[in-house]
Amino acid sequence: MSIKSLLGRYGFLFIIAGFILFFASFNPVFLQGGNLMNIVAGSAILLIVALGMTLIVATGGIDLSVGIALDFGAAFAVVAMKEYGINWYGAALIGIGGGSIVGLLNAFLTVGLNISPFLATLGTFFIGSSVQRIFTNGGGPISYRGMPQEFRDLAVGEVYGIPTEIVIAGVICLIYFIVLERSIIGRRIHAIGMQRSAAIVAGLKVNKYLIWSFVAASMTVAVGGLIAAANIRMFTPLSGFSYLLDAIAAVFIGAALHPRGRPNVLGTLVAVLFLGIVTNGLNLMGLNFNVKGAMSGIILVSALALAVAQSKQR
């Protein structure tokens, strides 16, 4: 194996290792077990959102409305518990159902009306943001301090000593890996994303797959909304937007790590952890808030550029 092909294959892992060393040399706390657990736990929601995005990008689209699905998941669950006194798992299911509305709308727009995913989901984003403003009378949070402990445990509980959010994200990640990378369904989804017309000719029910992908992705992202709501015991309108760019970046960094440049579950996982490491490391350096924002933006651009440049080396 020549150095060039080695760099082409694992170059990005070297970059991650470099960042870990850099942050560790700045602050030894970075490498302690508790902090590493913080990084993983802090990445759970982003991982869930990015997995939904991975599915949509694998079909050849993009979803700018993931934030809305996240908000809807949180809003439906919190309102179900607070206003209607529904028990915690009922509320969780209602939240996931609320998220699926976003996916159904996207599916209707892209498959039914033939609008390109970028513009369709941008429209969904506009509409979804506006609906939240109308519903909350301008964007005030809906807080529910007295939410059932079981629901709150989605974010702060532990399963055999592992934080619940990590367990949930891990299970979803495993399901996505099996379905998208190891099953005939995933093979077909990738086929649709690579060459839609060929997939149609081959007899795949492309529309059926696209509709289900949008619905499944939005339901997945809504789970992230449940965790976010459980964590701060309230629904904050329009908070999902902050995950959008990181999720897109994670999917495309992950795709660049794949031998054939396809969006894939493992790549997304690695990229999400990388973003988590950078956020956590910059926090531990104790930088000024504005400096931190500028740094993480520049690191994001450089990481994307390096990941894509690396994939072209092969």
Partner: protein
Amino acid sequence: MSKAKNFLTLSRIIDAAPLVIFLGMLIYIGFNAPNFMKFSTMQLVLNQSVPVVVVCLGLSIVVMAGGDGVLSGGIDLSIPATAVLSAGIIAQQLAQADAPLWLAIVLAFAAAAIVGLINGLMVTRIGMTPLLTSLATFVAVVGVSKLVTSSRRINVDDPFIVFLRDGNIFGISAGVFITLILVLMFYFLIHRTKWGINMQAVGGSRDAAEMSGINPSYYQMWAFVLAALTGFLASFFILARGSGSSPGTEDNLMLEMVLATFLGAAFSPRRVVTLWGAVLGAVLVAALSIGFKTMGVNVFWTGLIKGSLILVVVALGALSVKVKA
């Protein structure tokens, strides 16, 4: 069949529908908000639309040079962030560093040019898709501009900026007049020079352009730099409109830019992004926003209405392609 009979075919009705819907809404607003049809309101609409119009020029150029597909073709979402960065630099230099206007302008110009070069290099040298590139630079540039302004609002009362806000040239407000000249300059560049025609050829078919001896990367590179410079130009109007720079302007500007440019594509007969379409789109979006305000529509609803509008218009565009096929 005679020609007259063919005049009202299905495809023609669908073709005209986006513009008819828009004009219909404006007329509806005109009837329900008595002040809307006044000259002063029209002037307000034009004044408000100026920054969006200028960034739309940049986005149109990038789309023309890169092709129409949003995912794989040309798009530059970072222009509004560049505009806000440039506005932040000018405001910070004038108000806090007491620099002369020319120095502030030079610094802002340099910053914008660097953003454009980075976009262009990442797309042409590394081969990243423009959507991904410009999303990433959007985040980075917003981060840097917050660093420049410390995320604070900075007031600017420089006579030049005040002139852009309040001044008049030949009876038209200065901002609108200058923007009109800019639009004409860009029109000339794209449609009346060899350079512009070559650039459009690259966007039309990259392979065909390359075979006829045009270097596509060169034109794509320049498109990104020009786009970033429209961000620089827009920053003056942002400063004038807000009497200074304030953080967070970029999100709304980005959404309006994309909305206006792709609405413009829906207005054009071939459903492609055009300069005039984008300008018309920007003015109509501003007219609707202000129209809803004068009608007393709750602000929370405007996003819903705008989002539905873009979907209806774009769906009609997709439908017309289908009907013609």
